[in-house]
Amino acid sequence: MTGRLGFWLAHLFVLAYCGVLIGGFAVQFVTGDLPCPLCILQRMAMMLVAFGPLYIIVRTRRGDVRLADYAMGYGMSIVAAVVGAAVAVRQILLHIVPPDPGYGSPILGLHLYTWAFITFCVVVVFCGVSLIFARALVPRGVRFGWPSKVVCGLFLVIVAANMVVVFLQAGFHWFLPPDPDRYEIFHSLAFWDAGARSGGATE
């Protein structure tokens, strides 16, 4: 019973981060707030965090998951969450002086980088608790079925979509601007504004 719980908690973990990353896309495309370089670093850290439970899910293909694999999965997540939290703290501190309105629009009263920091803290707590009860939560008697395939596929699609969007944002320039306000690739190719060709991305 608890073995199944550990299995589905890993799915919930990956799905939660997929939701967060899709939410980031929603903010980007609906409100028009383009992610800054630190926001993109946080997205990367979220993906690294999700590799942990993804690894645990995929190990069920070979039958029961070993305790060592379970510990390795959530260990990877903790390390990546600490890195992500460091990036988020860096961005929070950049905008902490009171007159600074912060970067982007606040969601539910907090900026996205603050939410990112909260998610990384939640991950550390979740992984810690999972490792405390690791013997009980190691997936046993479960099958790698279609829900697992959907979760894995969704995650890979989101990583690929991020890669494409970042390429559109950076274009062929060496520099991703610290305060981006347009997709450089369209301006570089003169789809929207022929005059922008001479501008390019600068820092």
Binding site: I40, L41, M44, L48, F51, Y55, V58, L156, F167, P178
Partner: protein, 102 residues
């Protein structure tokens, strides 16, 4: 003769020094070594912004390796490479000039 403020690669160290920081960012302190990544404006420093697209590609490959059920060592190696690349990019941003209008 070049100014004492400028390094060989031509980057201005004064703004970072005013903020009490080396050009290599907070993570590596003030010592410079050949393996450290210049924070900005050097010949090689430019490559670490464009790395965002490449890094997502690395993450995609690592994710694919995880999903296809590669061995423990392979997964760990791919994950570690991604993590180190992210840390290098973060180090680059930590050392970059900021428009702090204090």
């Amino acid at each position: 003769m070049a100014s004492a403020r400028r390094c060989v690669a031509g980057c201005d160290l004064a703004p970072l020094r005013r903020r009490g920081r080396s050009r290599f960012g907070l993570m590596f302190g003030r010592r410079s070594s050949w393996f450290l990544i210049p924070a900005r404006s050097s010949r090689f420093g430019h490559y670490f912004e464009q790395m965002a697209t490449i890094l997502f590609a690395v993450l995609l490959v690592a994710g694919w390796l995880v999903v296809r059920g590669s061995g423990r060592g392979t997964v760990l190696a791919a994950w570690t490479v991604s993590l180190v690349a992210i840390l290098l990019l973060f180090n680059y941003h930590v050392g970059a000039k900021l428009p702090l209008n204090f």
